[in-house]
Amino acid sequence: MAENPIPTKEECISLLKSNGTPEHVIRHCLAVSDAADRMGAALIDAGFALNLDLIVAAALLHDMARVEERHALIGAELLRKLGFESVADLVSRHMDHRFPDAIEELTEIDVVCLGDRMIRENVCVGFKARMEDVIARFAHDSNAVSRIKASMEKSAAFIGALEAKMGRSLEAVCGVSAPKLETLLLGVEKPGRYVGGEQNAVYKDVSEVSLRFGLTFPDIYEIGMSWTGMQILYRLLNDLPRVWCERVFAPAADMAAIMRKHGLPLFAIESGNPVRALDILGFTLQFELSFTNVLHMLAQAGLAARGADRAETDPLVMAGGPCAFNPEPLADVFDLVVVGDGEEILPELCALYIAVKESESRGGKREFLEKAARMDGVYVPSFYAPRYAESGAFLGLERLVAEAPARIKRRIVSDFCKAPIPENPVVPLIETVHNRAAVEIFRGCTRGCRFCQAGMIYRPVRERTQSLILQSVEAQLENTGYDEVSLLSLSTGDYSGIELLVMQLMEYCKRENVSLSIPSLRLDSFSFEILGEIQKYKKSGLTFAPEAGSGRLRNVINKTITEEEIMIAVAEAVKLGWNHIKFYFMIGLPTETKEDIDAIVAVAKKAMQTAKDVQKKGNRSFSLTISASNFVPKPHTPFQWVAQDGQESLFEKNMYLKENIGKIKGVNFQFHDTRSSHVEALLARGDRRTLAAIERAAELGCRFDSWREHFRYDLWMQAFAETGVSSDASAFAIEASLPWDHISCGVHRAYLLSEWERARCEYITRDCREGCTGCGLDCRKDDSAGEYFGRAGGPV
């Protein structure tokens, strides 16, 4: 026999029975031991050294002699006789034990007493409720009440410190049912984010659907609801009769803390059900700086971050969106990645999921993934393994199963007029970033700006007809009551017949008292008739994006606009009555020199002068905002190989601009945090090893990284350093394998390479509406493919 034996659970229960302990006391002891067991385990996880067996045994036996006076001592005496010395010691102390001042002094007796002080009979009601019982019992004795209250306060402080260490409330640990969501919402900012129930939100009977889909946006409600894709996919999926698509957003920091405290898991806002109850969780990856939120949301849902660690019964976790064009940094997280237009793939995937789930063989995840992997536009990361050279260089992916294609071909909607437009979008109850009707008038862009990922991965241009657009605007306004409508695309001014469309829309909007907003008008396709029309009615801000200061650098990035054109546009705008204009520039572009930076200052000066010359005397003063963002090289662009400009260099350039632009009267300079651009670059072109750094960053507390107030560069750098992942956004060799080589967006590597060469030669490549430039898509077979005509000259 061991020196200081501890009885097992079974031994304890038979001891209780043979001792004649009444049934209701045994039930109480079982409840206390269950609570003490859970708390003990959670405390051990939080770093305390505790003997869990001792805790469980003492909790089970603490009221063994409750029918007696001084039951603690009598129970202990019995146990001592049986040789259970350490258990007896705890039992003898349980009635008048005081919690220590510091949580570091926590021992097994504290856990037993915590358990005892949370259980009423055999129900775990929590410490507060239990103490109120005690006070009620002594209500006649005011001295006793004040003594109890004083000791309660001390206990509450001790418990508070333990909860802070565990990051959860004891109630949550012990499984006291979480308070209702509605009650918690009274304590958070903008509770309307979490309740659903908006106009046009879809509710279905769970028993009548075969697939529950969680359309998941890894940021807060206001951001997610402003993304048009949310409306498109929500409608598309809910139009499938056997699918119920709900929305899932990241809870804001205050809500996340409350949910954690009360053990409330991440939920879908329509049903309020935990997302674990859903079949598929589909994340959209709209920007790299949302990656830590993906990890946090999975943790909040109670799901393992890595697909390999999730169970068969857990929801399938997938992703799509522009960042899915290099899914590698999160490849180990997702069971499946969708590459291309969601409208095209999702209905098929859902049908496949239901078919596999309901087939004779009741197929599991594996069967579904094997079948899905054969579909174009589907990437199953677990079917591939990365290979690295000894030097650490990425060598490529190795296929592990026969179903896995060597390259994943992007899927796109070829007939955009047939792609669904949501005519009854969900109308948020609270103000969001863009709370308005919106119609995507075309997808893709023909300009071929060399820094622009969207311009490459959404090719070719696919337009909707004018009548479809007008019809959709009318239907949306009728179904929502919105008083603003926006036209969406990468470059609205490039829509064929934009003027006619806008004239018709203007007329309609005026009649209906609705304002029209047309973002992404380009400087060169800038139609003054359009602006004149808008100006007559309601004026909003005016924004131009020359992107680079000098003509030379604009040639490098293929932004085909001359300084003269910029100044003509400024003059026209001022004549039409605008007195504020915003210019967007990028710094850190490939081949950039000091002259190019100076050119930004020069453009600002000249624009101010132009405005002054045009402006009639006595008019309101004109002001200009220059906004500079930091260039981030993105996969699938001609600049995918280049290094990002260094931190110090970017910062110096921003400071230089701030100083020099600040000197010009009437010009305001804004710039972007260079440090978050650095992290963005690392995530955009990362490989599978990057996940370790993202996981570590999330662990350290990084979240909502795209929010300036939340971004923590120090923690990110710590995460990269600790995990040994390179935090160097350096160049890729042209001949090197790229982490996203297996994803094909249709644009050929040879084209990207030739565009990179042309960029260095400062040659312009024409807008491909004027004639094919041979990107590899072959979207216009009748065209003379492969011919290059640069506007600014240069060899073919």
Partner: protein, 235 residues
């Protein structure tokens, strides 16, 4: 033509703020193709407003909205009775129009009549509630800190017109209380409740409390009457 609409705000919609709720009704009016009158000026806004804001988290069965229609309005098409059903067909669950009226005469807005509101307040059960309520209501002065000027105190007792327990079960005490409401004197029921708890020596926990506005009232002589009786509303 002016219209007065009485509606309820319940369930999840209690989490929609006053301004967001106004925007929601504005959109609903637009969906019904009611020709709203807009104010003149540089930035015209619709003539649509709520009689009185309701705190976030409170429910109500007695909210009022008034709006004015423009010349193009087809008055016959918007008979009040039909208006109610048409609103209810499009409003999200939790909002429900209870009644709608026309106000034929030009006159003061409904909000200008608001002087008091009656609330139903559910609080967790405690033994001495009856004594506590009597003691509280029987006081001559109840000091409360001004919400905007910390350190300054006012006497809120004159703003409490009535307070009494209505129902009790083992978990909940339901109080009903009539308080000053409106632009000249206003007492938020939550503030009254905080003082009530403080006077009874108990800790106030918002999470255990449910507050519902059950009536919005104005003076007619020395009697408090629902708003619709005061502004000449007609069905």
């Amino acid at each position: 033509m002016r219209y007065l609409v009485k509606f309820e705000k319940k369930d999840k919609m209690i989490f929609v703020s006053h301004l967001d709720a106004q925007r929601l009704f504005h959109r609903a009016v637009k969906m019904l193709r009611i020709d709203l009158k807009y104010s003149n000026g540089f930035n015209p806004h619709p003539k649509l407003s709520f009689a009185q804001p309701l705190s976030l988290g409170h429910s109500s069965v007695s909210e009022y909205m008034e709006f004015e229609t423009g010349e193009n309005e087809d008055v016959a098409a918007h008979r009040p009775l039909m208006l109610k059903d048409r609103f209810n067909a499009i409003l999200p669950r939790g909002f429900k129009v209870l009644e709608a009226w026309r106000i034929p005469q030009a006159g003061k807005s409904a909000s200008s009549f608001v002087a008091a509101a009656k609330y139903r307040i559910d609080i967790p059960f405690f033994f001495t509630y009856r004594e506590a309520a009597m003691d509280f209501f029987g006081r001559e002065r109840i000091r409360a800190e001004k919400p905007k000027n910390k350190g300054e105190f006012i006497n809120i007792r004159p703003m409490i017109i009535a307070l009494k327990p209505l129902m009790v079960d083992e978990n909940t005490i339901t109080l009903t209380s009539t308080l000053h409401c409106g632009s000249s004197s206003n007492l938020n029921p939550e503030r009254m409740l905080q003082c009530f708890y403080a006077c009874s020596g108990k800790a106030y926990d918002r999470a255990g409390v449910a507050i519902e506005r059950v009536a919005m009232l104005g003076w007619k002589g020395d009697e408090l009457m629902p708003l619709e009786y005061l502004c000449g509303a007609q069905t």
